[in-house]
């Protein structure tokens, strides 16, 4: 092993490579997107979500086209001669009116705004807090971990509806309070997962390598470890959105969330309480939207999880079975 062979050996690598220029690694994100594109359930879920988001965006447009406000009652046109709500398709109300003569379509569109706002914002706050708390607990360990992990356990075992009732009765209900309450009860779900992952990641050799380079704790946590946690965090966050939407609907249904006359799917269902079978459109449409939206987010979350970890069998199981000779 003289120096002459050395030169050959160490200079061999580049020429062996295929022609250079424009070769770039496919990032994990692109790989995930490519896998998602082949997943019909994921595409359908995205379509539903896009539809609901679009509905939320064009809510004012729907309002101006139909001329029906989401909050102001249409005294003349919204009810029939006996003062009863109109069924879907009558009098220019596509989805009918409620007992105050308000257009259910317009209210659902505005309710979508509330649901998405609460779902996304509460999830964002919960994710950020959960990731930070989980990373600190898992990376540092010791007494800090003991304290943070116990706090998360307490939060997870809290009777959240009772807690929400207490909070609302003390502070009065408002949208920001609703979002904060939901975020508070959701962060622990992410925090626990992140903590567990951080615990295992901090033992990896790349962390030691970063330490040997002189990286500080914060840099190791957020530049080195966090990218390795992106997959579980994305999946959990996607799955948190529907639970936050349902949480908001539950609170609003109980009268603790979004207050009337502001429309929310939860308080629309609350309005429909006791209506019975006569005015089915009162509850069917908000329920359908709530169901479709949460189902879409849940299915998308599952699909993202499968796409992030191709080893899970769920999507491809069927396809593999077909290949097997009978």
């Amino acid at each position: 092993m003289s120096l002459s062979t050395v030169q050959v050996a160490s200079n061999q690598a580049p020429p062996q490579e295929p022609a250079v220029g424009g070769i770039e690694g496919r990032s994990p994100l692109r790989l995930v997107l490519a896998r998602l594109r082949t997943d019909r359930v994921a595409l359908a879920s995205v379509a539903v979500i896009v539809f609901v988001v679009a509905l939320a965006f064009v809510a004012p447009l729907i309002e101006s086209i139909t001329g029906h406000s989401a909050t102001i009652t249409n005294v003349d046109t919204g009810t029939d001669a006996n003062g009863q709500p109109l069924p879907p398709g009558t009098g220019g109300f596509i989805l009918g009116t409620d007992n105050l003569g308000r257009d259910i379509l317009v209210r659902i569109a505005y309710g979508a705004r509330i649901s998405l706002l609460v779902g996304v914002l509460a999830t964002a706050i919960a994710t950020i807090v959960g990731v930070v708390v989980g990373l600190f607990a898992g990376y540092f360990g010791g007494w800090l971990d003991s304290i943070l992990a116990r706090i998360m356990d307490v939060v997870l075992s809290f009777p959240y509806v009772l807690f929400a009732i207490v909070l609302v009765s003390v502070f009065g209900s408002s949208l920001p309070l609703t979002i904060l309450v939901i975020a508070f009860f959701s962060f622990a779900a992410i925090g626990r997962i992140v903590r567990g992952q951080a615990l295992s990641q901090r033992e990896k050799e790349y962390v030691e390598a970063a330490q040997s380079l002189g990286a500080g704790n914060l840099r190791i946590m957020f530049v080195d470890i966090l990218p390795n946690l992106v997959a579980p965090v994305i999946v959990l966050a996607t799955l948190l959105i529907p639970s936050a939407i349902i949480f908001e609907a539950t609170l609003s249904f109980l009268g603790l969330g979004v207050q009337p006359p502001t429309a929310s799917w939860g308080n629309m269902l609350s309005d429909a309480e006791g209506v019975g079978f006569q005015a089915w459109w009162f509850y069917i449409f908000p329920m359908l939207f709530l169901l479709a939206t949460t189902l879409a987010f849940n299915l998308l979350g599952d699909a993202v999880r499968d796409a992030l970890d191709p080893r899970t069998e769920r999507i491809f199981a069927g396809r593999r079975k077909k290949k097997k000779p009978a």
Binding site: M1, A9, A13, G25, P28, A209, L213
Partner: protein, 366 residues
């Protein structure tokens, strides 16, 4: 070697880059559900004194679990020392905090054993190699990219692969990434923790040659850890042999391989793989009895006395100091009360297991 009569004072004082004095690293073993209390400790490194001279390669050998990697991490100050003194380039690093340690890390870098685990699989190669530059605020933006691509070229990687992920490289290429990262800060000392043992044999030579090239090009000093004796012989100027947390013998590479003094070194060398089957058959294997004792409760006196063919009563009571045996060069230090003399054969008896196998074969019906 024997005709050289050493006069310790005549040798010029070597230019020592890194000096480790009585380095001790014990890992506590804790028990208890709520209140943990220490019930013992793993004595991974238990009083190691070593010096690494500027520009040399000091090989560090020993079997699995003898504390080589722990010593490397002690030298890199990846965890606090239990006790001992660590001097690097004149500065005492033994008790510095992590943030105080940071400026010194520019002078010492590490190459890790596992080319898979030591690279963050979620980060692009360019950002991995540029990490030290970013941490030490040495270069930003386009300048960092230019420097990283220069480093990639130096270690034999294609600079066009700047944006790739580690998973898109082979084991050897990944180890080159690790080497480039270690070089980024232009360090004086690189601690190589078994840099080739995870690699394919054909790739091992490439990486070893790369390390040699870089040493002559940048005037690097290596602390080279390995358990492959052939590799260590090839790369090292001097070699230190470790057993159970202690250095048992240090010598220039030629001295150590020609006249190993410590019985353990003899056993270790006799266990190395010889490529020639005839030589392999004719040489004497020293097969030690028993296993390596637990580092939780190491033997008294000389740690090797429980397995040493030459052990006497003194060995179990008094711990031998590292000193130059009679007739050896001053640089050849052995920690043994009864060092192996020239021509002495430790392997006169074949190991019991081999005898048993041969006996079985002789008796077997044909």
């Amino acid at each position: 070697m024997l005709d050289v009569v050493p006069t310790p004072t005549s040798a010029p004082a070597p230019d020592v880059l890194l000096r480790a004095e009585e380095i001790v690293k014990h890992f506590p073993i804790k028990e208890g559900i709520f209140f943990k209390h220490e019930v013992g400790s793993v004595k991974a490194v238990d009083g190691v004194t070593l010096e690494v001279r500027r520009g040399e390669t000091l090989g560090l050998v020993g079997e699995t679990g003898c504390g080589k990697s722990t010593l490397a991490r002690c030298v890199m100050r990846l965890f606090p020392l239990t006790s001992g003194r660590l001097t690097f380039d004149g500065a005492d690093l033994s008790t510095l905090s992590r943030s105080k340690m940071r400026p010194y890390r520019r002078g010492m870098q590490m190459i890790f054993q596992d080319p898979y685990g030591s690279l963050n699989s979620r980060r692009r190669v360019g950002s991995i190699i540029g990490d030290p530059l970013a941490i030490h605020h040495m270069a930003d933006g386009a300048e960092r990219k230019r420097k990283v691509q220069g480093l990639m070229e130096v270690v034999g990687l294609n600079p066009e692969h700047y944006n790739r992920f580690p998973a898109e490289f082979s084991g050897g290429q990944r180890q080159r990434i690790g080497v480039a990262r270690a070089l980024a800060l232009n360090p004086k000392l690189i601690v190589c923790d078994e840099p080739v043992s995870a690699l394919d044999v054909s790739i091992q030579a490439q990486i070893l040659n790369l390390l040699e090239d870089l040493q002559s090009e940048f005037g690097l000093t290596y602390l080279f850890i390995a358990h492959n004796l052939a590799v260590v012989q090839h790369v090292s100027d001097r070699v230190a042999v470790m057993y159970l947390g202690k250095v048992v013998e240090v010598a220039d590479v030629k001295d150590l391989y020609a006249t190993p003094r410590h019985p353990y070194t003899n056993a270790l060398l006799s266990a190395s793989v010889v490529a020639d089957p005839d030589k392999a058959r004719s040489r004497d294997r020293i097969i030690l009895s028993g296993d390596v004792p637990s580092p939780i409760n190491p033997p008294s006196g000389c740690r090797f006395h429980t397995r040493c063919p030459k052990a006497q009563a003194l060995c179990s009571t008094e711990e031998p100091k590292l000193k130059s045996a009679t007739g050896d060069a001053a640089s050849h230090l052995t920690a043994c009360h009864f060092p192996v003399a020239d021509g002495e054969k430790l392997a006169s008896d074949k190991a019991t297991i081999l005898q048993a196998v041969e006996g079985f074969l002789a008796e077997a019906p044909t």
